[in-house]
Every structure is written in C-alpha cells, then in structure tokens.
C-alpha cells in the first residue's frame, strides 16, 4: 500500500489522527484548522483512514474510501477532489459510532450569556446554517454537527469543527464572511454543493468552555414563520432518534436525557429566511429566565 501521511487534530474534547494515502486532503485540513491548538500529547481518541477504494484507484480516477477505528459496511467512496469532505465525514463517523464520554445529539449549538441554544432536526432543517449565521451575530459557535451533553453535569460541551455549508447557504454566508475563511468549493457531492467554513476565532479559543443548555429548538426551513410548543414525550422520542449513542449509554443515557428534557425549554420553529429565524430566536431568548 505504501507510506501513509498523517496529521493530528484536537477539537473540543476529542483528538483525531487523520491518515491518508494522499497528501492533498491533509494539506487542506492543516490549512483550515491552522488556528486550532496542537494535540497536547501523542494521545488520540480516533484514527480516520483515507485509502484508495481499490489499489488501482490510488492514481486512476482516485477514489477515497472512508475508514478508521470505526467504520460502516457499504460506505460510498468519494473522488479525491472531495477528500476534505471525506476526512470530515470520517471524523463524524468516529464520533457517531465511538464516542461515549457525552450523549451525542445531531444538533448545532451556539452560546450566549453562558447558556447554549441547541438546534436539532432532519437534514435540510437548516441547523448548520443557523449556527453559522448566529456565530456572526454575537453568539459563540459551539458546533454544527454534534451537540455534546455532559453525562454528569448536564452541560453542553463545544465541538467546533469546520461548518459544513450546502448549496444556497454558501452564498448567504459569503455575504458576511471573508473568503479566507472558506474551504475549497466541492460541487456535486452526495449532499449537493459544499463549502466548509472555519468557525470564528473565539469559538476555537473557548472550545473547552461548556455552557448550561438554555433552549432547544426544532427548526424547519421553508414554512410560514411560527413557534410551537412541543409535548415532552415527543421531544424525548425525537431526541433519541437524533442521538447516535443514546442506546449504547444505557442507564446513564436515560438519566441524562430525561433530566435534559425535563429542564430545557423547547420550541418548534418554522421559518423562511435567516432574518426571520434570528428574530424568532432573539425573542425567545429574551424571554428566558
């Protein structure tokens, strides 16, 4: 197979080694994560492996298979031009399958006044874009893919990776964020057009500062703006569906999630533009105790 190149990344409480047959994805990662601190020691939690789908695909129409300590059968390979995306997906996969130190929710999160706003929902709900937008409007970015719930304290822990912007969201953020913070354009990925956005410096500097959960939102893009209460049973079930490790955590997961659902005010939020969403969010936030 030949020598593999590698780099290490430290994001929030997790440390990754990314090993790759090709230099290019690692060079791009190194560039975009340049302001992140080096891992303190040699310890890593996970290794991600980017390797040719088949040996001859190393050079001919190079095709990246995403693997690592944790992997899934039937994973679709990506072209080398989307190697950066493959690395990010590889890190997502390690967290989703292997992380046990927090309850994981598929959600974005931002912080203000010492409290976290958590936004969860299906693909297309806009949770990544909302977190990117709020991060430019006075909120501290905590993460766009996974929200980490501390099993003892009930606090949310930051996990600020590159923000994954898709399709229209890219142009929307380009209006307020300098080009230097964007990764390469990747067109026609399995998830559409994607560009990664480097989080604001403050998010990185403060990435070890947790925050008490203040508000949980279920955003839904493309509907008349509206806020709705939700029943606790519905919230609980939807959060178990949004968690990749609720079942694996057993009793501790049950205690953490029930405590969370009991304590955290929750709303469903429909919206048609980022401006509408921001207005609704700020009005809710100001009403919190």
């Amino acid at each position: 197979m030949g020598q593999m190149h590698q780099i290490s990344l430290n994001i929030g409480p997790a440390a990754f080694r990314i090993a790759s047959t090709w230099r290019q994805p690692l060079d791009r990662l190194t560039n975009l994560y340049q302001d992140y601190p080096e891992p303190v020691d040699q310890h890593v939690d996970f290794t991600v492996r980017l390797e040719p789908e088949k040996p001859w695909r190393r050079f001919v129409r190079p095709s990246v298979h995403i693997g690592g300590d944790f992997w899934l059968p039937d994973a679709a390979p990506l072209p080398l031009a989307q190697g950066l995306l493959a690395a990010e997906m590889g890190m997502n996969l390690q967290m989703a399958l292997g992380w046990r130190r927090h309850l994981l929710l598929h959600a974005s999160s931002v912080e203000k006044d010492g409290k976290a706003l958590i936004m969860t929902g299906l693909s297309g709900s806009g949770k990544s874009t909302l977190s990117a937008m709020l991060a430019e409007r006075g909120w501290r970015f905590m993460g766009d893919e996974f929200a980490l719930l501390n099993l003892d304290s009930g606090e949310m822990h930051p996990f600020p990776r590159l923000i994954s912007l898709k399709n229209e969201a890219i142009a929307a953020m380009q209006q307020t964020v300098p080009e230097s913070r964007f990764g390469p354009e990747m067109k026609a990925t399995p998830k559409g057009d994607i560009r990664h956005l480097v989080p604001p410096k403050e998010a990185v500097v403060r990435m070890h500062e947790p925050a008490k959960p203040g508000l949980l939102l279920f955003p839904r893009f493309g509907y008349e703006p509206e806020l709705r209460d939700m029943g606790k049973s519905e919230i609980f079930v939807r959060l178990t569906q949004a968690s990749t490790n609720y079942v694996a955590l057993g009793e501790v997961g049950f205690q953490s999630l029930t405590r969370f659902v009991d304590a955290v005010p929750t709303q469903a939020m429909d919206y048609q533009s980022l401006e509408q969403a921001e207005e609704l969010i700020e009005s809710l936030w100001s009403q919190l105790a």
């Binding site: 679709a76 989703a96 693909s123 399995p190 079930v237 178990t240 569906q241 968690s243 609720y246 079942v247």
Partner: protein
C-alpha cells in the same frame, strides 16, 4: 417510585364517589383501559443504521459479492447468467439516495423500467451480512 406518587403526576381528573356506610369520600382517578388491540408500549430502539444514516453516504451493489456473476430476475432473485428475462449485474453501485427515490417510484439511473423494478426487488430482499444490507436498512428509517 410507588403507585401513589404515580397517581399524583397523572393528568387524569379524579372522580369522587361516596361510601355511604362510612361517610368516606373516595377520590379515585379515572383509568383509561384503551382497547384490546391498542398497543400501550413503544420501545425506543433506534437502529444503528437509522442514527448513522445521516452521517455516512452509503451504496448498494447489484448484485452483491455473495452473488457475483449471477443475473437478477423480475422478482429480484439471483439466477444463472443468461436466464431468459433476467437482467445482468448493473455496471455501477447505486447510492442510498438513488435507491430511496427508486423505492418511491422513480427509476434507478441508467435502467429501463423493468430492469429498475427487478433491481429494487433484489434490494428489498437483501439479508443481514450481504453487501448493501446496512445501506438498505438505513433507508427504512426516518432521518
């Protein structure tokens, strides 16, 4: 947690009956029994495939390695090559997205209507351990 504290937290209205002999007023909560056929329990069992489906893009080979060289008949079974009416292996793997759309009525890319239906039937019959099964299972769950 005992029965008494359970009662206190329940939202049903209590009904008041009087025991005329003793002059005691018994406040009893109403209990809805439902129907014989109405299930009263839902178990939280998000399958691995469901929760990770949005993290990883997957693909399904038609047919998988376990049936390499075989053809696929209209019902989705693997049959010997050149069986009349059966279709050869697709030249490419299909993504989870493409298969989901095919299950909703559209055609798998690059296939005729009958070929697409045969392939989809094959996919629907995948078993655990066969190539593509995890991907197919993840399509079943709401994302």
């Amino acid at each position: 947690m005992d029965i008494n504290s359970m009662k206190d937290e329940h939202p049903s209205e209590p009904s008041v009956t009087e025991d005329q002999k003793n002059g005691i007023v018994n406040r009893r909560r109403a209990l809805m029994m439902g129907a014989v056929t109405a299930s009263a329990v839902v178990s939280i069992k998000p399958a691995l495939a469901q929760t990770v489906g949005s993290v990883m893009n997957c693909e399904i080979p038609v047919p998988g390695n376990h049936a390499a060289g075989g053809y696929i008949d209209a019902r989705g079974s693997i049959v010997p090559p050149d069986t009349p009416g059966a279709f050869p292996a697709s030249g490419r793997n299909f993504t989870g997205e493409e298969v989901r759309r095919a299950m909703q009525g559209r055609r798998l890319p690059g296939t005729s209507r009958r070929q697409s239906r045969a392939y989809v039937n094959y996919i629907r019959r995948l078993q655990s351990g066969q190539s593509g099964f995890t991907c197919y299972a993840s399509l079943q769950m709401p994302r």
